[in-house]
Amino acid sequence: MKIRFYGRLADAMGRELEIAAGEAASVGEIRQSLAASHPDIAEALRLSRACIRDAMADDQRLIGTQDDLEFLPPVSGG
């Protein structure tokens, strides 16, 4: 499974991270696991929205084997 990062998260994690697709994991579990292994971005991850297939996904959402996950930090245009 691929995890894509944007904004300040990409600075810390790179644009894309490939992780082994094991047992079904939820968005929240992946978020917690990343925060535990990268404490420097834990706060940014907490504030980020998760996105699967171009739609926002809450932390309870189970990630399918074909799904890629994206983390979007707070956005700002204008």
Binding site: Y6, G7, E70, L72, S76, G78
Partner: protein, 152 residues
């Protein structure tokens, strides 16, 4: 009714956007536009060379369309036009053009105000200033969020 929401990868020309909006607004009585520029100085007073706007391959364009369409539905306007830069914007150059046309001025003023309040807080971009102080991510301020919340 016409809604334009465009993600611009190259230089944004406000004169051209205004000319097209004016052309489409025939029969209306008012056009209000806003042009956002890349500031040459950060909030901390450091010189800024450029603003870099990172975007999402699909969600950014969708967010521009959603905001423009919501604006057209909410206000009594005939035209809504949003053009937003992505990529590297040198200081002093335009980042965004937001305009609306209506029969009477109030709707166009409100529509342009609404467009910018939502673009500042909901358009899918990640902005960073690059300059004297290195690279700094810019996120919505409490004031930006309060401005957006005025619209309910």
């Amino acid at each position: 009714m016409s809604v334009v929401a465009h993600l611009e990868h190259e230089a944004l020309d406000p004169q051209l956007e205004l000319a097209e909006l004016t052309e489409q607004a025939r029969g209306d009585g008012a056009i209000v536009t806003f042009i956002g520029l890349a500031r040459p100085e950060s909030r901390e007073g450091d010189a800024v060379d450029a603003l870099v706007l990172e975007h999402h391959p699909t969600l950014t364009r969708q967010s521009l369309e959603d905001i423009a369409v919501a604006c057209a539905q909410r206000f009594d306007v005939s035209q809504v036009r949003v053009v937003h830069r992505c990529g590297t914007v040198p200081a002093g150059e335009p980042i965004v053009f937001a305009g609306a046309a209506s029969l009477h001025r109030r709707a166009a003023f409100d529509a342009a105000d609404y467009l910018m309040d939502r673009l500042k807080t909901e358009a899918v971009f990640w902005k960073r200033e690059v300059g004297e102080a290195g690279s700094q991510w810019i996120e919505p301020t409490e004031a930006d969020l309060a401005d957006r919340d005025r619209w309910g």
